[in-house]
């Protein structure tokens, strides 16, 4: 037992590294007879971005089905790229896979279907009522945006999902024939005119592969696909190795792996309060560090693939918020050395990645930037700093949550730890003030540079300045002695609400006009988060002497002990 306790951190770290290493070297799609590894690396152009077929398949299946895998007719789980190969090659079973997710009862009854487990339906099941759907969609489109109801929105959603399927079947998307020049933009879809020989070579390869797939001719498919991919490597060298890297990135799911590590680390820390304190704390710390390494690698890979600073859209802002929070959490650990920072890092990292996961279900997260955002300078300065401000505000807020919950509901908080955490919250708020202020003003300067208005009072700007003001309130309240340890913690929790508002709330203003906006998944998530924070704030209004940690003889003893060395 002693030996296990001693070597546990090392052992756990090794296991985790091995698990991650395996996902990096394992041959992709090895279980499939068809060479889906080569097939999924083929370059296609979709929504302005050259990407491996693997990404196209995953993002579109995700859009249709809310998952990146599907169940085949035998109920076996299969990868998205196989689904795509089946549609493109016109295999009949592609029409029978239950992939369309329909949640709303009215839409189901419109399509003449009954709710079933998983709520997923096949193209063949939807086809009979397609004309009825089109009729509804046309009526919905005729209404002005604001007067559409939830059924309209859900009907349009189903129509758009079917439309993606149809476009893939008709070879309208993605554009699969590469531009002649390696850097060119004039990609073509299959089935269009192929005016020159090179293009028809590409097209021939595609037709041959798809035909082979349709006829279940495994060896022909594998040979043609591999040969085509090989040919592209010499004719379009600039596409490689990005295609392989992106495919590997999809397969290894680094953000998911980091999430798992953060959950493990959190559990270990919690157990560490009960037994094997040092060993479990160290193990947790090790796992968070490994998680951070994977996280960092994934972040850098995304930056390399996109050729951009880390934050380019809402999804990547959640990723970056998580990354900075984990880094700062480990910084807190370096200061306190008692496991608290590790817990903070694992919680904030996990939550941010969970938010990112939910944001990522809309489609391609490496999407191209709209004109006004197409500036690496401002993305790198303003967007990055503002996001770091969010991150620091959340970290302070989560520390507030933990300290209040610990103090009120458990006996684990003592006066010494309370003082230390409070000081940590203050330090983090100071960081948050710096980053959110600088970030907000840089945003103003960007606005001045791009449309001549430093400050326009638009919702996004207002949200940013609210974070700055909130942090300023915390600092001034502390300096004026208006808020002590408990007050600072409660204000920091309030900071969670303010930050969540300006991060997500302002994006929902347009949605808020619809009566059904309030049932939107994102809105429910935000409301839940705000509710949770308000609940803890309410908990924190209980005077400290009634907290479990500070009640009874045990707590008083602790207090007198811990006060001595400090003074």
């Amino acid at each position: 037992m002693k030996a296990l306790e001693k070597y546990l951190p090392l052992l756990l770290a090794l296991i985790c590294l091995l698990a991650f290493g395996r996902s990096m070297v394992e041959k992709p799609y090895a279980k499939q007879a068809f060479d889906l590894n080569a097939f999924s690396q083929l370059p296609v152009l979709h929504k302005g971005r050259v990407q491996p077929l693997d990404s196209f398949a995953r993002n579109n299946l995700l859009f249709i089905s809310d998952k990146q895998i599907y169940s085949d007719s035998e109920g076996k789980k299969q990868p998205a790229v196989q689904w795509l190969a089946e549609i493109m090659s016109g295999r009949p079973e592609s029409r029978q896979h239950k992939i369309f997710r329909i949640e709303h009862d009215d839409v189901l009854s419109l399509m003449g279907l009954k709710p079933r487990e998983g709520l997923r339906y096949s193209l063949d099941e939807l086809a009979p009522k397609y004309p009825a759907l089109i009729q509804q969609v046309q009526m919905a489109f005729q209404k002005p945006d604001a007067s559409r109801d939830l059924v309209d929105a859900k009907t349009i959603e189903l129509y758009e999902q079917l439309e993606v399927f149809r476009q893939i079947m008709a070879f309208e998307i993605p554009l699969v024939l590469p531009a002649l020049k390696a850097e060119g933009n004039d990609w073509l879809p299959l089935g269009g005119e192929k005016s020159d020989l090179n293009r028809s070579n590409y097209a021939n390869a595609w037709y041959k592969s798809l035909k082979a797939y349709q006829n279940n001719d495994i060896s022909l498919f594998n040979a043609t696909t591999a040969e085509y991919l090989q040919g592209l490597k010499s004719s379009h060298p600039s596409l490689f190795p990005k295609l392989q890297i992106e495919q590997r990135f999809n397969l290894s799911m680094p953000f998911y792996q980091a999430m798992v590590l953060f959950v493990l680390a959190f559990l270990l820390s919690v157990f560490g309060w009960m037994f094997w304190g040092t060993a479990l704390n160290r193990s947790a710390f090790g796992l968070v560090v490994i998680g951070l390494v994977i996280f960092t690698g994934a972040l850098l890979t995304r930056m390399y693939l996109q050729g951009r600073p880390p934050v380019t859209n809402l999804y990547s802002s959640a990723i970056f918020v998580g990354w900075v929070a984990v880094l700062m959490g480990l910084g807190v650990e370096w200061f306190m050395k008692n496991g608290f920072g590790t817990i903070m890092a694992s919680i904030t990292g996990f939550c941010a990645l969970l938010v990112a996961h939910n944001l990522g279900s809309g489609g391609d997260t490496l999407e191209m930037m709209r004109a006004v955002l197409d500036t690496n300078f401002w993305l790198a300065t303003h967007v990055t700093t503002v996001t770091m401000g969010y991150s620091a505000s959340f970290l302070a807020g989560f520390m507030g949550l933990i300290v209040i919950i610990m103090g009120v509901l458990t006996r684990k908080l003592d006066k010494n730890l309370y003082t230390k955490i409070s000081a940590m919250i203050y330090g983090t708020v100071a960081f948050a003030t710096l980053f959110s202020f600088v970030g907000t003003v840089l945003g103003g300067i960007w606005a001045d540079q791009s449309w001549g208005r430093f400050w326009g009072w638009d919702p996004k700007e207002n949200g940013a300045v609210m974070i700055v003001l909130w942090n300023a309130i915390i600092l001034h309240a502390r300096w004026g002695g208006l808020a002590k340890k408990r007050g600072i913690a409660l204000l920091a929790i309030g900071g969670n609400i303010v930050t969540a508002w300006s991060w997500f709330g302002v994006n929902m203003l347009g949605v808020g006009l619809h009566s059904y906006g309030f049932t939107d998944k994102a809105f429910v998530g935000l409301a839940g988060f705000v509710g949770l924070n308000l609940l803890v704030i309410w908990l924190g209004t209980i005077p400290e002497e009634h907290w479990r940690s500070f009640k009874g003889p045990q707590a008083n003893k602790k207090e007198s002990l811990s006060d001595v060395p400090l003074k």
Partner: protein, 402 residues
């Protein structure tokens, strides 16, 4: 750990004696700071919610550049049920001024030149500058749009937030004589009389935003009132298109000359004749004429391949300025404005059929102030927190040494 730099201040506060000292203590107190900052956050929050229905400029005027604002309870509820009532709330001018006073009194009371305090002073000097800069921008900044067709030219810009009713007298071959009535008068509903105007005007209806619909009875158009473009919509480029229905009278008479529909939608003007003189009557956006002319040589709208996602907008413009002897070509594109003779030109939009460009023209004499204040505050924050951090690190090192 990092320590509160100003914590001793609060303890040192002595009981003020005279009423004046009491008053000063109140205006310099951190309690007031926290209260004002809290009210500011609420005001900004309300002002954000209000933009779901009202135009961004209406909200800026009512909430942020006002002394008092009535906040409708409706903004907190879904729009499909009507909620009456409103709450009076201090406006942006009130809160901004009080914060300025608070800041200055606090610094006057406790100003001491010391290494610990210098960061705080720099931060707050920067903030004062920022507040003053926003005030000046509100007073003096001017924004307008310049629309140029490809191959065409323009020597004026239009203020899309301020329409005006114009009488154009083109009898002189060289220059037009233009008399205008501003929007504020059009909205008043009173009969408009002025010695400069050729006629008296009765405004029968004024729509801040409108749509024109084909009149089912005949060939003409009928104007209909439309809801104001809200703050969330204007982010997507929507602007209000006003219409005024007017009846004209000869000066001092009650016998109507005729009723006219004037609208910024209409490109052709109403031709009227008063006392043998011809005028073109139209509602247009307020124009400001420039002493130079811009020719649009080319407008480009690049998209990402295979999509409609905009990648870049770019205008190639030739500036001809006889006064300053300038004749040169420049490119204006996203995030790359042109600064010329006190105006700044930004690529803002384009004509729907991409046949022309829309440049935003901004005159803001105080544009440099935010830059300076940003540098000051950042420096101050770095000084302040850097100092605290290094102090706490030192203390930590000392503790671990003993």
């Amino acid at each position: 750990m990092i320590d509160a730099p100003a914590a001793p201040l609060a303890e040192k506060k002595r009981k003020p004696k005279t009423p004046l000292q009491q008053l000063l203590a109140f205006f310099g107190s951190l309690e007031l700071t926290v209260t004002l900052l809290t009210l500011s956050i609420l005001l900004i929050f309300f002002g954000t919610l209000a933009q779901m229905d009202q135009g961004i400029w209406t909200v800026v005027k009512d909430y942020f550049r006002s002394w008092l604002v009535w906040v409708d309870f409706q903004i907190f509820f879904p729009r499909d049920r009507a909620v009456p009532g409103a709450l009076p709330f201090p406006g942006g001018n009130t809160l901004g001024s009080l914060l300025l006073i608070n800041l200055m009194v606090a610094h006057a009371q406790r100003f001491k030149l010391s290494k610990q305090k210098i960061g705080l002073s720099v931060i707050h000097a920067g903030l004062i500058l920022l507040l003053v800069g926003e005030g000046l921008t509100g007073l003096y900044a001017d924004e307008s749009n310049m629309t140029i067709d490809e191959g065409g030219s323009a020597n004026y810009s239009e203020d899309i937030r301020h329409p005006e009713l114009a009488f154009v007298d083109s009898s002189d071959a060289k220059t037009d004589l233009v008399t205008v009535v501003p929007e504020s008068q059009l909205r008043s509903g009173k009969r408009i009389q002025s010695p400069q105007l050729p006629v008296d005007i009765q405004v029968d209806a004024y729509y801040k935003n409108s749509v024109l619909e084909k009149d089912p009875s005949g060939a003409g158009f009928k104007a209909k009132q439309a809801p104001e473009i809200s703050g969330t919509q204007s982010a997507e480029g929507g602007i209000d298109m006003p219409t005024a229905l007017v009846t004209l009278f000869p000066k001092g008479s009650d016998k109507a000359l005729g009723s006219y529909t004037t609208s910024v939608w209409l490109k052709s003007s109403n031709d009227i004749e008063v006392n043998g003189k011809k005028y073109a009557l139209n509602l247009r956006f307020e124009r400001s004429y420039k002493p130079y002319t811009f020719y649009l040589k080319d407008f480009r709208f690049d998209r990402y391949p295979g999509t409609e996602i905009p990648k870049n907008f770019e205008s190639t413009v030739r500036i001809v300025d006889t006064e300053h002897k300038v004749d040169r070509e420049v490119k204006i594109w996203m995030n790359h404005p042109l600064r010329y003779r006190g105006d700044t030109f930004y690529q803002a939009s384009y004509k729907p059929d991409e046949s022309g460009t829309v440049l935003q023209v901004v005159k803001n004499p105080s544009w440099l102030i935010p830059y300076i204040s940003c540098i000051l505050v950042t420096l101050g924050l770095l000084l302040q927190f850097g100092f605290s951090l290094s102090r706490s690190l030192k203390r930590r090192a000392k503790r671990s040494a003993t």
